[in-house]
Structure formats: structure tokens, C-alpha cells
């Protein structure tokens, strides 16, 4: 017999043997190997507005299947493909498994494993050093929506790190929202409310005679698990639906809608021209305006051109928007004649330079047509009804704070975070940032100007990051701490846009590998920082406590929610925003200085910009006009820059990702190509054919994607989904096709609105570009 082994047995291994398997008594083995199958109801707590009840099957301690949980009620809360495939993310082999410490240069992507104890010692040591040397505001809490729409394991304002940093002496943190800042700003300064209750329930859509979906692609970005049901119902009832968007998206087909193409970032001009038609044709609701609206006269002066000599006629708007004057007149008349009509604003036209003006102009038009506070009408679209009020922590920290999001420290705008890091106090920002503490936030992918963001990360002294994957942002960390997923912890979740229900997030499995929840991580860190009693309560105790302090308890009990998993609460009729204010204005004035809907914002006018306010966000409000105005900028087609970069880029959300989340999951990636939509005329002019690799570029950088030549987009516009991870090659060209490489951070508006859809670019066939 052949024998490859030596006849002697030399010693190979002299170290201590370290066994991973051990002999176990039969009883233990039985217990360990009992393949009990169980099912739990839970949901995702990722950064998407819906919350779909999921039925998760667990066997041998591992998730084997995820399906949509259907309780038979209306509207059905059907889970999307991300939810159903969520286990591909949970068990992805590239999940971060252990704490890591950087080896080599920051951003190089080389790390080695380190123990939790050592990792958190380093974090605590650096936090103390930086606070002592530069003050607490040198620490930037770069936490965002990795976990949200839940009451305990949220990663942004109110999360564990937020609480710890407030105790630690404060920090620099975000003072604006990213997606909905424009909508929120408009509701705050026009209606006087910021609690998100500014729109009618979807169930009320069926009472409209006309529905205008403005930049709201409900087929692809449902924005709420149950929302599409109501839109389809309205369609089936024969209600006319008009869809305004640069692209003929799936919504047009699905809802049999009429498509009106419009140039990106110009919606405000069209809304103002519609106001012009209503005013000049005397089609506005005079009674409503007199009774409920403040500042109509000033608005008329602007719209008619009395103040600036430019009447905002449909012809004026046609030049800017690309929508014909005829269409604008026709749509205005249709809107005014078909009452009640719902003007459903999307957030995306508000994610533009001066995007808050779009939401304000839309509210103004609804007010002029008397469509507010009535069944079948509309209001606005901040719509975050539960997210803010469900979180009692922020409320508590807001009590004695002048900051918008409560607590201690200073606030900066989301969109110009990198400027704030790079330029600091000398550049007019409120702090000199020396350390970035990232939690659940791929900021390099998701904020304008990725390259500037990288420079910001390179500049600071220390970076720590809680993540599930090595995102482009996590690559720039010095210490990475592996966070677990929503299936590995208990929580209570709710849809952060519309939907009257809550879901108990039942922990389905134990934390995988050596990951921990952000709460557990921060807890250990707190102890190392000397806060021995930071959190002494268990997860369940905390959950109960937070629940009791949240508004959810008005609708359900903790015990019942935990037992049943999904609980809906129903009102006898759809909720109408501002119903009371309209029905009985004397008893229920709008919470604005005038008590009315303020097209002219008195609140803005009354702000004292010289008084001591602590947010670094608000001083810029002084540059915002008191009435909604169309404000042009350097990245629109009529600007000089358009000579060099003649196309407008828009960056919508993909159904296969929740922003950057799920991008790295092959199971989902194989379902799509990362393409850019280009109109055949634009393609032909540049010799581009369907499927070609193309370079989209401007002064800021370049990305490579595939061309999708289609008439579903209007000429002059390029559409490329956001959320793909930045992946630069040696020349710095982004092969990952991350759109924020191209978007200019300095167009962040005075109100703090991020301009993801205001961006000029040029495109070229990739192999024709000189290397």
C-alpha cells in the first residue's frame, strides 16, 4: 500500500491545542441538535419608509425562509423583494464579523481583527483625548438611518450614541434631514407644523376627482407598504391621474396616468405659473384664500411680476421647465375645475437646489384652489407621521435645548458636512471636527460630492464606524465595530410614512458571529467612558419603557403588540389633514403667527438671526424669500455651465436597494444592471448605443455605467439610480457608478435641502474617452 506519511512521527505542532469542537454528553447533543422549527413575525428596520410584516421561519437557529405576513386586512402590507431576500443580507459571507482595526493607510481597506475590549478601549481613549484637547464638539456624530422606524435600535437622533454623546458633553451632529428637509421646512413655515401630519390618509384618495402625482413614482418607490393599494384603487375607480416627472416611469403604466415630462429642478417654476393662471383667470377659491391664507397679495405681486417686472406666465415657465405653456394652462384649469383634487407631492422634486420652494409653491397652489383640509384634497408631503413622535428620547433632550434635534453641542447641515469638516470654524462652520463617529451611515455614497467626503475623512484624527458591511465609508474607519441586523434584536417598528399600524420586531436569531447591537456597543463604551449607570436595563425593559413614553401606546398595548406581532388601528373614516383648522378656524387656528396658511411666512420674517441660537443650520434662513419663489442656480440648463455640461442628472431610488443598503447582495444585484436612462436624441448625438458603457462626468468627477437608450426619458435628462457603492479605479474614475461623485454639495439650499436632483453632467461613450 502506498503511504505518503513518514514512518516516524515528527512533532509538527507544539503550541497549545485550541479546540472548537468538544465531546459533549448525549443529552447536550440532543438539545443542541434538536431541529425545532419556529416562525416569528418581524419586519425590517432599514432605511425605507415602509414597514412590511414578515414571517420568518427559523430552523436550527438559522433563518431558512422569509415571507410576507398577510393578516387579510386592507390595505395588504405586501413585503418587497428586499424583505423576502433579507436573509441573503443577514448571512452574506462578507458581513462584518469581528471588530477590526486599520492596517496601513486610511481608506486602503486593510484591517486586522481585534477584540471588542481592545477596540472599545481605543475608541474611549480617543474620545477622551479629543474632548480634552479640542472640546466635545470636535466629535462629529455621523449617525444616520442604518436602523430606523423603530423605537429602540434606531441609529440616528435618539439612538444609543445620541444619548451617550449628550451625556459626554455634546458633539457636532446633523441638524437637517436628507430626503425630506424641503417638505418639512415648507410645512413648518407654511402650516406651522413639523410633526408630519400634513396630508390626508391614502384611503382618502378615492374621494378625489383628480390626482396629480408630482415627482412621485409610487410604482417603484412605494414609500409605505400599503400605499400602492390605494393608488390602484383610485385608478380602478376611474379617477384621472396625472404624473409629472422627467421620466415615464412604471407608475405611468401601472396607474394609467397621463405623463407630463418636466425638466428636473424646475418644478417650482411650473407651480408658480399655475398660480399665475389661477390668478389671471380668476379661477382661485377667493373665499378660501380670504379666510385661511396669509400673504396671498404679496404672492400675487410676485407671480404677476408687480415686484420684479417678470410676470410668471406659462410662457415664462415653458422656457424654464420644458413643459409647453398650453399644457400648463390646461393642467391649471383642470386642477381648478375638478375639486376636490389631490396634489400629491413627491420628495424628489424637493431634493433640488432650493427644493423647499417647490413644496411651498405646491402648498400655495393647493391653498389657492381650496383643496386643503377637505376630503379628496391634499396638504403637503412631509408625511412622517410616526417617526418623530414615536421617539420619546429626542423629545426629552429637546426640552432644554435650542438645537433642532435636542441635546448638547452644535448642528450642521447634512449636505455640507464635508465642508464643515474641511473648513471648520474658519470657514464659518460651528466647530473644528477632529473625530468622526459613524453609525449606520454610508455617508460617502449617500451625500453629495463623494470625493470631498473622502478628503474630510482623511483630514480628521480618528474615525470609528459601526457597520454590517465594509461600505465605502467604513473603509475610511480606523476602528470598525460589527453591528447586528434587525433579525438579531427585539424592537417595535412602525412605518415612517403613512400606515396606521405597528409591528413587534421579534428577535429571530442570536447575533451572528461577534456582532452586537449598536445599543450593546454603546453600552460597553459608556462604561469605558465612566458612565457606569448609562444603561442598566435589559433590552425588554428599555423597550417597554420607550413604548410607554411613545405615542404608540395611544393605539396598542405592549403586551398585545408583542403577542400578535402586527397591530393595526383603524379610524371610521380617512384622516383629513387640517380638517379642524378649516372647519372651525376660530377655535383651531393654524399654529402660525397669523393663524393662517402662510404663503408669506411670518415665522420666517420674525426670526431674529442675531439672537443666540445654537444650531449652525438656521442662520442661513435669512436668505430665504418670505414667499415661495423660483430661484435659478448654476446647474440648470440656462446657466453658463450648461454649455460645457448640457445634461441634467437625476438620481432616483432603486427598488432593489434601500439607498446603499442591499447594494452588495449578489442575489439582488443579479436582477438589474446599473444603467443610466438617456433619450435617443442625446444618445445619437454622442454615438451612444443601447448597452454601451458610458462615462457620466463633470468638473467634480466621473462614473461609468451602462447606457439604457429610451424614449421614456425626456431629452436633456439623464437618470441614474443612487445608492451604488463608490469604487474608484486607479485614475479615480468611479467604476461603481456612485452618482454622488457628480452632485455638487455647495448647492445645498439655505434651508438645508440637499440637491440630489440638481446636477449638470455630460456623457460620452466610454471607449471614445481618451485614457
Amino acid at each position: 500500500m502506498m503511504n505518503i506519511f513518514p514512518q516516524t512521527t515528527p512533532t509538527l505542532f507544539t503550541g497549545e491545542k485550541q479546540w472548537w469542537l468538544s465531546e459533549e454528553p448525549a443529552e447536550n447533543l440532543r438539545r443542541k441538535s434538536s431541529s425545532v422549527e419556529k416562525s416569528v413575525i418581524t419586519t425590517c428596520t432599514i432605511d425605507c419608509g415602509g414597514r412590511c410584516p414578515l414571517l420568518v421561519t427559523v430552523k436550527d437557529g438559522a433563518i431558512t425562509k422569509i415571507s410576507s405576513f398577510n393578516d387579510g386586512e386592507v390595505p395588504p402590507l405586501n413585503a418587497c423583494i428586499r424583505g423576502i431576500y433579507h436573509h441573503y443580507k443577514v448571512y452574506a459571507p462578507d458581513r462584518l464579523k469581528y471588530p477590526l482595526i486599520r492596517v496601513g493607510e486610511r481608506g486602503e481597506g486593510r484591517f486586522r481583527r481585534i477584540s471588542w475590549d481592545k477596540a472599545l478601549d481605543i475608541v474611549a481613549r480617543e474620545m477622551k483625548r479629543i474632548k480634552e484637547t479640542y472640546g466635545p464638539e470636535a466629535i462629529f456624530e455621523c449617525a444616520y438611518n442604518g436602523g430606523n422606524g423603530c423605537i429602540l435600535h434606531l441609529t440616528d437622533w435618539g439612538g444609543a450614541l445620541y444619548r451617550l454623546l449628550n451625556l459626554f458633553g455634546g458633539c457636532t451632529r446633523f441638524g437637517t434631514f436628507t430626503s425630506e428637509e424641503g417638505a418639512k421646512w415648507a410645512s413648518t413655515f407654511t402650516y406651522g407644523i413639523s410633526d408630519g401630519r400634513d396630508s390626508n390618509s391614502w384611503a382618502d384618495l378615492v374621494n378625489s376627482k383628480l390626482i396629480i402625482l408630482w415627482g412621485r413614482n409610487v410604482a417603484e418607490a412605494r414609500h409605505g407598504s400599503g400605499s400602492l393599494y390605494w393608488f390602484k384603487l383610485a385608478r380602478d375607480m376611474g379617477i384621472k391621474i396625472i404624473y409629472i416627472d422627467p421620466c415615464c416611469t412604471d407608475t405611468v403604466n401601472l396607474l394609467k396616468a397621463e405623463w407630463i415630462p418636466i425638466r428636473p429642478s424646475t418644478d417650482t417654476a411650473m407651480l408658480i405659473a399655475m398660480a399665475y393662471v389661477l390668478i389671471t383667470k380668476k379661477m382661485y377659491d377667493e373665499k378660501f384664500v380670504n379666510r385661511y391664507v396669509f400673504g396671498f397679495d404679496q404672492y400675487c405681486d410676485y407671480v404677476l411680476g408687480t415686484t420684479d417686472g417678470t410676470p410668471k406666465t406659462p410662457q415664462w415657465a415653458e422656457e424654464i421647465t420644458g413643459v409647453s405653456a398650453k399644457t400648463i394652462v390646461r393642467l391649471s384649469e383642470e386642477y381648478a375645475r375638478n375639486k376636490p383634487a389631490a396634489l400629491i407631492q413627491g420628495w424628489s422634486p424637493g431634493r433640488t437646489a432650493s427644493g423647499e420652494q417647490y413644496h411651498r409653491a405646491a402648498i400655495a397652489l393647493q391653498a389657492m384652489s381650496g383643496n386643503i383640509g377637505i376630503s379628496g384634497g391634499s396638504g403637503s408631503c412631509d408625511g412622517l407621521e410616526l417617526i418623530g413622535v414615536a421617539n420619546p428620547i429626542v423629545k426629552k433632550w429637546k426640552a432644554n435645548s435650542l438645537l433642532r434635534f435636542g441635546g448638547i453641542g452644535v448642528e450642521i447641515k447634512n449636505g455640507t458636512w464635508a465642508e464643515a469638516v474641511l473648513r471648520g470654524k474658519e470657514g464659518g462652520y460651528p466647530s473644528n471636527i477632529k473625530m468622526i463617529y459613524v453609525v449606520g451611515h454610508d455617508i460617502l455614497t449617500q451625500r453629495q460630492n463623494t470625493k470631498k467626503g473622502i478628503d474630510a475623512f482623511k483630514k480628521v484624527e480618528f474615525v470609528v464606524c459601526h457597520e454590517q458591511f465594509l461600505t465605502p465609508t467604513a473603509r475610511y474607519a480606523d476602528i470598525i465595530l460589527p453591528a447586528n441586523t434587525n433579525f438579531e434584536r427585539n424592537d417595535i417598528a412602525f412605518p415612517w410614512v403613512k400606515g396606521d399600524y405597528a409591528i413587534f420586531v421579534h428577535k429571530a436569531i442570536d447575533s451572528l458571529w461577534d456582532s452586537k447591537s449598536d445599543l450593546e456597543i454603546v453600552n460597553v463604551l459608556a462604561k469605558k467612558l465612566g458612565f457606569s449607570d448609562f444603561e442598566t436595563k435589559s433590552e425588554e425593559e428599555l423597550l417597554k419603557e420607550f413604548f410607554e413614553e411613545s405615542i404608540l401606546k395611544e393605539h396598542v398595548t405592549y403586551r398585545e403588540l408583542k403577542r400578535r406581532g402586527l397591530i393595526r388601528w383603524k379610524s371610521s373614516k380617512p384622516r383629513i389633514a387640517f380638517e379642524k383648522q378649516i372647519a372651525d378656524p376660530n377655535s383651531y387656528p393654524f399654529p402660525t403667527p397669523s393663524g393662517k396658511i402662510e404663503i408669506f411666512s411670518q415665522r420666517l420674517k420674525q426670526m431674529d438671526f442675531n439672537s443666540g441660537h445654537y444650531s449652525g443650520v438656521t442662520p442661513d434662513y435669512r436668505y430665504i424669500p418670505f414667499i415661495p419663489k423660483f430661484m435659478s442656480c448654476e446647474e440648470l440648463p440656462n446657466a453658463p455651465r450648461a454649455k460645457k455640461y448640457s445634461l441634467q442628472l437625476i438620481t432616483p431610488h432603486s427598488r432593489y436597494r434601500a439607498h446603499s443598503q442591499f447594494y452588495n447582495i449578489p442575489k439582488l444585484k443579479q436582477l438589474y444592471e446599473h444603467t443610466a436612462w438617456i433619450h435617443p436624441n442625446d444618445a445619437k448625438n454622442r454615438g451612444i448605443r443601447q448597452g454601451d458603457n458610458i462615462r457620466i462626468y463633470n468638473d467634480q468627477g466621473a462614473i461609468i455605467v451602462q447606457a439604457e437608450v429610451t424614449e421614456r426619458i425626456m431629452p436633456g435628462v439623464v437618470r441614474c439610480y443612487e445608492g451604488t457603492w463608490h469604487d474608484p479605479d486607479e485614475q479615480g474614475i468611479d467604476r461603481g457608478g456612485c452618482v454622488n461623485v457628480l452632485v455638487n454639495d455647495l448647492l445645498t439650499s439655505y434651508a438645508g435641502v440637499s440637491n440630489f436632483n440638481t446636477c449638470l453632467v455630460e456623457i460620452a461613450k466610454e471607449d471614445s474617452v481618451q485614457q
Partner: protein
Amino acid sequence: MNILTEDLKKICDYREQLYILFSKIFKEEVDRDFWENLRNANIEMDDFELIKNIKELINYVENAKIDKKMIEELAADYASLFLGIGNHPAHPYESVYLSREKIAMREPWCEVMNIYCQEGLAKKDSVKEPEDHIAYELEFMAHICQKVVEQVERSDNKEVTRLLKTQKDFLENHLLLWLPTFCDDVVNGSRKLEFYKLIAVILERFIFLDSQYLKRLMDDAM
């Protein structure tokens, strides 16, 4: 043929050591002690290809300046390859290679758990890795080698045969089905240092030879 010989005992003892050695390499990052251990290890195998590769490894180990920097780079290579964070990782889980879903903790993971269980073995609670990690599978082979040695001493021919068959089956139904691809991935993914590349080449050959050995042993025993 009676396989209860001193030879078998010696060989299984040697095989156990080899499996422990390989298992150890995938369990954790290389430290200075282990490097010294490797420097002094006297790996002998009667196979031309393997001898060549082992020589290369020994040369590498002897010539490498094992300082803090080197240990750190080895640890970074380990993380890049086996903790899944590099651009070209080699995920050390059978389930990632053999499950339909290509993710961790699927059917192959359940299968190996059951096999361990049948041999009275289970994962220690302190270990954070799922049971189909390459280090467990190699360690499992070592455990069985140990049992063979014990049973040879007890002269339990039947049990020895059963254990050897268990090993052969485990190799054929599990390790051999994914380890070669895994080792290729290690070779392709090793960018900075040569160490894991050399290990992968040796391991792949060793597993093949060991399965041949077991096959012949079983054939002869029949």
C-alpha cells in the same frame, strides 16, 4: 487484512497533527509563537509535489523577517481573505460554496453539524463561527484521527473501520467538494504576502492525498 497495526496508529497520529496544524492556521491569525512552531516543524510527506511545496513554505518561513509589521500584515491578509473584507475573499464556509443560495448557514452547515453530533461532538459556545468553517471541518478530521488511535489501542477493529469510513465519507461528501475551489480562491486572492497562498496549495494537495490514502486503506481492508 488486519488494519490494527502500529503503522496505522503512527500514521493517524501524524495525520491528526497535520489536521490540527491546518485547522489552527484558519482559526486565527498567525502569531510569533506559531511562526516559530512552523519554522521548527518537520513536515515530511512522500509526494513529489507536496515536498516541493512544503520546501517552498519552509523557505518562506525561514527567510521571512518576522517582526511586528509582518505579523500585522499576515493578520491583514487573514482578515482580507477569511473575514471576508478584501476585494477577493475566500469565505471559509462550506455553505457559501455548496448551498444553492451561496450564503452562510444553509443546508451543508446543517449536514456537518449532524455528522459532528453523531460522533459526540459539538461546537463550543465560546466560538463565534458556524460549524462548517474550514477550521472545524479540519479539526473534525483530527478528532477522528485521535479516536482511531484510541480504538487501535483497544483493538476494536470494527470501530476503527467505521471511523476510517467516516473520515473517508466526510472528505468525499464535504471537504473535497469545496476545499479545492476554496484553496484556488485563497491562491487568487492572496495579494500582499505569499503565506496563505503557499498554505492553500499544500492543503489542497494534502487533502487529495489523504483521501487517496483512506480510499486505498479501505479498499485493502475490505
